[in-house]
Symmetry: C2
Subunit: 192 residues, 2 copies
Amino acid sequence: MSVLNEVLAANAAYAADFGEKGALALPPARGFAILTCMDARLDPAKYAGLAEGDAHVIRNAGGRASDDAIRSLVISYKLLGTREWFVVHHTNCGMEFFTDDVMRGLLASSFETAELRPDGFHDVGAEPGSAEAQYIDWLTISDQARSVTDDVRRIKSHPLVPARIPVYGYVYDVATGRLVEVPEATAAGAAA
Amino acid sequence: MSVLNEVLAANAAYAADFGEKGALALPPARGFAILTCMDARLDPAKYAGLAEGDAHVIRNAGGRASDDAIRSLVISYKLLGTREWFVVHHTNCGMEFFTDDVMRGLLASSFETAELRPDGFHDVGAEPGSAEAQYIDWLTISDQARSVTDDVRRIKSHPLVPARIPVYGYVYDVATGRLVEVPEATAAGAAA
């Protein structure tokens, strides 16, 4: 069965037992938002105990405080009333294993190697290379505690973010499922 | 109990029963990615049937194909081997209920009204206004089928996206839990 058919079958089963969820309100019931990584091993609803309707979840490669993540957070508070935010990066993140130069080199060349590399990465693509990657900041990570702290600071210093919103900084450990606080980040994210 | 303590308590319970999940590999086991909205009512793991380790999940306000979402998708395929992508917007999305001008006006003024407005939106903030909002494209939506199709087209035409990746376009119905295909989007997203 293809991925598409698997997803549609799972969705039909979910919708068949949808219950009262169709009546949930638009604003997050518990008034908070989580910014975290797209990593497949992370399920924020599970690791943070969210039911449908509870909280906004923003995800990108690394869980970084990109301009787009900040766009989403500002909408989250200004239109939909969230008043506490979490930034959650994680151990063994793919963003730690390359640099802008590596990504630019990979995307500028053309190759096809479907097998997994020793470092766990696929390296795929038969299309002609493109220099476009040189114009993108890939937002790689060299140290998780540092990246969480940097991102909390960027969010807190953004002119559209109210000082009274606390931003908590955590690293999710993919080996244990635990959220580990980054005290420096949480201190930087304290409500004023 | 504060939100922070609730989240940490839920996380402790999750980690206490983590089982074999600590051994999951970094690349998504089922080789696909979903781009969807941050909306609190959406749980992509539930609506698409994902276990931890299965698929990348990218979320922002609207589920839009922003530059940052495309950064994440390119990393998803190039380093971590995903080969099929979904774009999933949804009914009753907050992004349908305002425009760039409205958002810019809200953020340029200073006010504090904690109560919910008749249209379901909070309108909060006592900080001084900022003109910064004029420099942000808020990526609002006027029609979901159109926004899904536009976003699939933007992804497919990006110079770093291989033509052989199919991109499926869907609208999630928050009243029923069902994924409804946008045929024009899926056609635009067909693998070449």
